[in-house]
């Protein structure tokens, strides 16, 4: 042993498994975790879906057929179109993607416009089509979209249009970036606070611990939603969207950190008594080294699991706040902002597709929950 190594299996020595046979004794901790995680089918699916969602968030501009804020009064509340592939013409069958146009019928009595699919108008659709120009990540100028009508002026609303004739699909895709990143940023903020304060609390104990615990208890005793509402209302209406975005993440992590701090503190408290920490201390390791080299690695996996599990609640909170009009505001597009359009029954009744962003929320939260659950189970490979 050239350096103090932990005596308990809390941290295993990183060693590659030389044998093809699964050998529980020489596998590293991360390997064991992976084996356990792999057994958890739902977690694997959740992990994959999460990855896909984040990839969508990354390539929003390319994936969205149009600009999310491009409106067209002609197509207010246009229903979703079906993407057709088989084109039966007089000259035989052609296989290419296309959508039908809309015909507007005006109901003279109810004074309502209804859309009917107009089979006489066919708009060809193409993959990797040149459309509205955009800057990918604000850097690279591009025109290619994954899918879009060949004629940029042609109507294509695969998931319908909203009150202002904006394309729901594009809006949802753009919303992915905001909603998913707000979860990440919020968790990152709470993580910093949580690990710092939880670590101090658990490692030093005593009166600092009591003080921090009191603060946590206090913050937890304030009902979250009224608190959020109050703070959300306090964000000045004239703030630019980006500042509102950060304001909201700060508000969300204000409560979020307490949970993480508790996990970290609990871990520190139990690890402090472990033999391998004592061994490292007797070896003359410095406090910082003990914390960073011996203690943190042994609960890192737990922290990762807790993070994964707290992202969904951030997403849900943002959605709820924005839905009520106290969170993000247009022109920023998030799932919550989109759902705000569905606030009253009548608009939902005329355009049920306004609820589709809700499905996105449920799927994202489910995927993250499954992933987090699997990670949590795998976090303790020796259990």
């Amino acid at each position: 042993m050239t350096e103090a190594r932990p005596l308990t299996p809390g941290i295993a020595v990183e060693e590659p498994a030389q044998e093809t046979e699964i050998n529980l004794y020489i596998a590293s901790q991360w390997q064991l975790m992976w084996w356990r995680f792999r057994r958890h089918k739902l977690a694997l699916i959740g992990g994959t879906v999460t990855l896909i969602i984040y990839l969508i968030a990354l390539f929003v501009e390319f994936l969205a057929p149009t600009d999310p804020n491009a409106y067209s009064v002609r197509y207010t509340y246009a229903p979703p179109q079906r993407l057709h592939f088989i084109d039966r013409t007089d000259k035989g069958i052609r296989i290419h993607p296309y959508v039908y146009g809309y015909k507007v019928k005006v109901d003279k009595v109810a004074l309502r416009r209804t859309f009917v699919i107009d089979k006489t108008k066919k708009y060809p659709v193409r993959f990797f089509v040149k459309g509205t120009p955009y800057k990918l990540w604000g850097l690279i100028e591009m025109k290619t979209h994954l899918i879009g009508p060949v004629d940029p002026e042609a109507p294509m609303y695969l998931l319908g249009a909203d009150r202002m004739g904006r394309d729901m699909l594009s809006r949802m895709i753009y919303g992915t970036r905001v909603s998913m990143s707000i979860g990440l940023v919020g968790v990152a903020l709470s993580l910093i606070l949580g690990i710092l304060l939880g670590g101090i609390s658990g490692y030093y104990g005593g009166s600092i611990d009591t003080l921090i615990q009191r603060i946590i208890e206090f913050l937890r005793s304030i009902p979250t939603i009224p608190l959020w509402l109050g703070l959300g209302a306090a964000l000045p209406p004239n703030w630019p969207p980006l500042r509102v975005y950060f304001g909201i993440t700060v508000i969300l992590s204000l409560i979020g950190w307490t949970g993480l701090a508790r996990v970290v503190r609990g871990r520190f408290l139990s690890l402090r008594e472990e033999d391998f920490v004592l061994a490292a201390r007797l070896d003359g390791s410095s406090e910082l080294r003990i914390i960073l080299r011996h203690m943190v690695p042994s609960f890192l996996s737990h922290i990762i699991a807790s993070i994964t599990l707290s992202i969904p609640s951030m997403i849900l909170s943002e959605t709820a706040l924005s839905f009520l009009g106290l969170g993000l505001r247009p022109p920023v597009v998030s799932w919550g902002v989109l759902l705000q359009e569905a606030q009253n029954v009548r608009s939902v009744a005329t355009a049920p597709w306004l609820l589709i962003p809700g499905i996105a929320v449920v799927v994202a939260v489910l995927a993250l929950n499954f992933l987090g659950d699997g990670l949590r189970d795998a976090a303790d490979p020796y259990a």
């Binding site: 304030i222 009902p223 009520l324 569905a342 609820l355």
Partner: protein
């Protein structure tokens, strides 16, 4: 036990004071106050501003004075006269506006809590005992969906379905003829008829959460040595299950009441907005938006106090259930 309760009660006082301070800061955060915006809008429409009335209000709440003076005036009003201040928007004392709504909120939350328990408890036990069975998978999956669906989305979907297919609006807690009616048995019965929809909507995520807690707790307990001891005594499985592991698993379950109840109260805020229920939520939201600060502040304060009381109740329950805490 009594000593324990007394100690907890004493601890509540500083917490509530701290909460009231935070509440006050929150409602003061938005720039400007209601009076300035009121004067501005009145001036805009050319209405005569009643200077003397304005001065009275200003003096009473210490508006324009340092924030701590305003806080003390507000807090003193509550302690000495039960005066939570004036709602500027409604031009009524806050007390006239909040009590009925708080009571309805409480009724709704409590019935949701009961609903949650009645559903979650047996399912949680079933899921743990029959771990990895088909039923366990189904309930676990449904539970996950319940947790992942925001309450307001569920409310929207239900409203859409009943509007579209039954041509019926599910909003509100009363039928139209009872909304303004004074309290009577008929009104209570009408309330009961309407209560179940928000109850179910609010209860889903809580139920899902509790099922998971119960299942996890019970799984922890099922293989403890004391269960083996009881089995070795010759106890029938069902009796054994209910008397030992379920009883022990109940403890962490009870300790969740503390946050379930306030969670429900605050969760109901959003659902109430969607379903336009006459509970605290919609009024709080409106008050926050229009900077009706005393109304908003009183709501936040009352809901927080409710939370603190909820935590206290669950701690007392826990102490009553668990001798290890009681005899400490």
């Amino acid at each position: 036990m009594l000593q324990y309760i007394a100690r907890r009660l004493l601890l509540m006082i500083p917490t509530i004071i701290a909460i009231s301070i935070v509440t006050f800061i929150i409602i003061q955060l938005p720039p400007g106050d209601y009076l300035t915006s009121l004067v501005a809008s009145m001036a805009e429409t050319g209405e005569e501003v009643d200077q003397s009335a304005l001065e009275t209000l200003k003096a009473r709440y210490g508006l324009g004075q340092p924030i701590y003076v305003q806080y003390f005036k507000w807090a003193w009003g509550i302690i000495s006269r039960g005066d939570f201040g004036q709602s500027f928007e409604w031009n009524k004392p806050v007390t006239d506006l909040i009590w009925e709504r708080l009571a309805l909120t409480f009724v709704l939350s409590l019935s949701t809590l009961l609903f949650t328990w009645i559903v979650a408890f047996p399912i949680g036990i079933y899921s743990a005992v029959k771990q990895y069975s088909l039923g366990d998978y189904v309930f676990t999956f449904l539970g996950f969906i319940g947790l992942a669906t925001p309450n307001f989305l569920l409310a929207l979907v239900l409203m859409y379905i009943s509007f579209k297919y039954f041509n019926q609006s599910v909003g509100g807690l009363f039928s139209p003829q009872f909304v303004e009616a004074p309290w009577s048995w008929a009104k209570v019965a009408d309330l009961m008829k309407h209560l179940w929809i928000p109850m179910v909507i609010l209860g889903t995520s809580g139920t899902a959460g509790l099922i998971r807690i119960m299942r996890a707790n019970l799984l922890d307990e099922l293989h403890k040595p004391y269960v083996v001891t009881a089995r070795a005594k010759g106890l029938p499985e069902r009796r054994l299950l209910l008397k030992y592991p379920v009883r022990v698993a109940l403890n962490p379950f009870v300790s969740t009441v503390g946050w379930t109840l306030p969670g429900l109260v605050s969760g109901s805020a959003i659902v109430s907005v969607v379903l336009s229920l006459p509970t605290t939520g919609p009024l709080l939201l409106r008050a926050l938006m229009s900077q009706d600060m005393y109304l908003a502040g009183s709501f936040i304060l009352m809901l927080s106090v409710l939370t603190v009381i909820g935590t206290l109740i669950s701690d007392i329950l826990l102490a009553w259930l668990d001798p290890r805490i009681r005899y400490q």
